[in-house]
């Protein structure tokens, strides 16, 4: 079944690529759309632009990605510690929980310009926003993980007269690793998005800047190349977390994948 999935994925990839080319063709040739080049350029054209400018694109992507990664790591750490605090103290949980929810309602991407105004530094802004976006999924998921430890496992620890620290280290934290990674997988592409947005606010480098300049300069090839690059960055961040998960969480959880297919 596993090998099948790769085969299916490949077929889909090819299908999407073909659909893209066909769509571009339709626009340009069939509908004679004057804006065809900017609405949906030929995939092969985009790819060749990317290859031509790979050095520049890569450099820009690297800046954006690394800053996002740092913010992601910071946010993850803060979120994790917060989850532990909330798990240990009912009062902390009471205080933090509603604000945790509300914090997700605040349009963080709308917050970006304000953060930048406050912090004044490009890199710091990227990190702050990426951290902000990451800490909620991590905190919420980890806390949910802590809370869903089955009673019997706790009872086992109790029968060993294990102290609270021991119980956290040997039971709660390993148990909550799968949901933690679920949260990280959600947050990773979001961190990249946040970093790109900050790029656009007036940074000197980063893929978002390339995108913006290309847009205003009317350079649609570079624009689309940047778009595809950003998308690839998002996917790459997701895959990176997935890879880390495979290493850190090699076991299957009690509740396996539901398979009512």
């Amino acid at each position: 079944m596993k090998t099948n999935l790769w085969g299916v994925g490949l077929v889909w990839l090819v299908a999407v690529a073909l659909a893209w080319e066909w769509g571009a063709h339709l626009l340009a040739v069939e509908f004679h759309d004057p804006m065809a080049g900017s609405k949906l350029p030929y995939l092969h054209a985009v790819v060749s632009t990317m290859v031509e400018n790979s050095g520049v694109l890569f450099e820009a992507a690297e800046v954006t990605f690394t800053q996002a990664a740092i913010g992601f790591a910071m946010g993850g750490l803060i979120g994790y510690v917060l989850a532990i605090l909330m798990s240990v103290s009912r009062t902390v949980e009471r205080i933090a929980f509603p604000y945790l929810i509300v914090s997700q309602m605040i349009p963080v991407l709308g917050l970006a310009p304000i953060v930048f105004n406050l912090v004044r530094d490009m890199n710091a802004s990227r990190m702050v926003i990426a951290a902000y976006i990451t800490f909620f999924p991590v905190a919420a998921n980890t806390l949910a993980g802590f809370k869903s430890v089955d009673d019997e496992k706790r009872t086992l620890m109790h029968s060993y007269a294990a102290g609270r620290t021991t119980t956290y280290l040997k039971l709660m934290m390993p148990f909550a690793l799968p949901p933690l990674f679920a949260g990280l997988k959600i947050a990773a592409p979001l961190s990249v998005t946040a970093s790109i947005l900050v790029d656009m606010l007036g940074s000197k480098n980063g893929i978002g800047v390339k995108l913006l300049y290309a847009l205003y300069g009317g350079n649609m090839d570079i624009f689309w190349a940047s778009v595809v690059t950003s998308a690839l960055l998002g996917v790459a961040s997701y895959l990176a977390v997935l890879g880390a998960e495979k290493l850190v969480v090699p076991w299957e959880t009690a509740s396996g994948p539901g398979d009512g297919r």
Partner: protein, 257 residues
């Protein structure tokens, strides 16, 4: 009763304390900020009440775009999940494609939509639709296919037609997941709508309001707009949560404490 009261009072107290500290300028001292960089709560409230009508208008514009996109995107996502359920082998790959679409940063989607559509509203709806499809597709798919063991077998033993299996079994089973996706999507929709307004041809909406006011260095108004956007998001979230409570009365997540 005291437990529920505590649940309420602690965060309220903390929030009040937070606002108090802010008002008194402690954050300014801590972060080395000048008053014009970070307006105090009273200033924000003042600006808001002065321009309340316009702010609410903008809010309506953004929210309507967000909701329209939310409905469209969720519908498409759900449809994709249904198709994936009916053609299991190929469907799953299709879902992966949709998830990949999710990875395209909103900030890149917006300019693309600008090319496809001419009005700000259309662009906004376009962006929101793409952004909300994936979450719904994945959650709905999981709900439609994660059936309890033997429930399919039971249906088979009744020689139930495909439509019955779908409407009596899979669909109700998917509702909790659908609502989870809706709750996630409402937040994404608001954010996507606002970001879209940043880059779009719009001259109205919350995103425009934030951008415009910051450009004019009207910090208090900028913050006011953010506050309104957040409150709108919270209200919409609560509405969906309430509907969920009604619809899912039978589900364990509602009956468990």
């Amino acid at each position: 009763m005291t437990d529920r009261l505590k649940n309420f009072l602690w965060p309220l107290g903390f929030g009040a304390a937070f606002l108090g500290v802010w008002q008194m300028g402690w954050f300014h001292a801590l972060l080395g900020l000048a008053p014009f960089q970070l307006p105090v709560p009273t200033e924000i409230v003042e600006s808001l009440t002065l321009h309340l009508a316009k702010t609410l208008d903008d809010c309506a514009v953004t929210v309507s775009g967000a909701l329209a996109g939310l409905v469209l995107g969720s519908a498409l996502g759900f449809l994709a999940a249904v198709v994936a359920t009916m053609f299991p082998k190929w469907g799953y790959g299709g879902l992966i494609v949709i998830s990949a679409l999710n990875a395209v940063p909103i900030v890149a989607l917006s300019p693309i939509m600008n090319r496809w559509f001419s009005t700000g509203m259309e662009q906004k709806i376009g962006v929101v639709t793409v952004v909300t499809m994936a979450a719904m597709a994945i959650n709905a798919y999981r709900g439609l296919t994660s059936l309890r063991p033997f429930s399919l077998d039971l249906m088979k033993s009744y020689a139930a037609p495909g439509s019955a299996v779908f409407f009596q079994l899979r669909l109700p089973n998917s509702l909790p997941g659908v609502f989870t996706a809706l709750k996630i999507n409402i937040t994404s929709a608001m954010i996507a709508a606002i970001v879209s307004e940043y880059f779009a041809a719009s001259t109205s909406g919350l995103g425009f309001g934030i951008k415009d006011n910051l450009r004019k260095a009207e910090m208090a108004m900028g913050w006011a707009y953010i506050t309104v956007a957040s409150v709108a998001g919270v209200i919409l979230f609560l509405v969906i949560a309430l509907i969920e409570k009604r619809v899912l009365r039978w589900h364990t997540s509602q009956t468990r404490g």
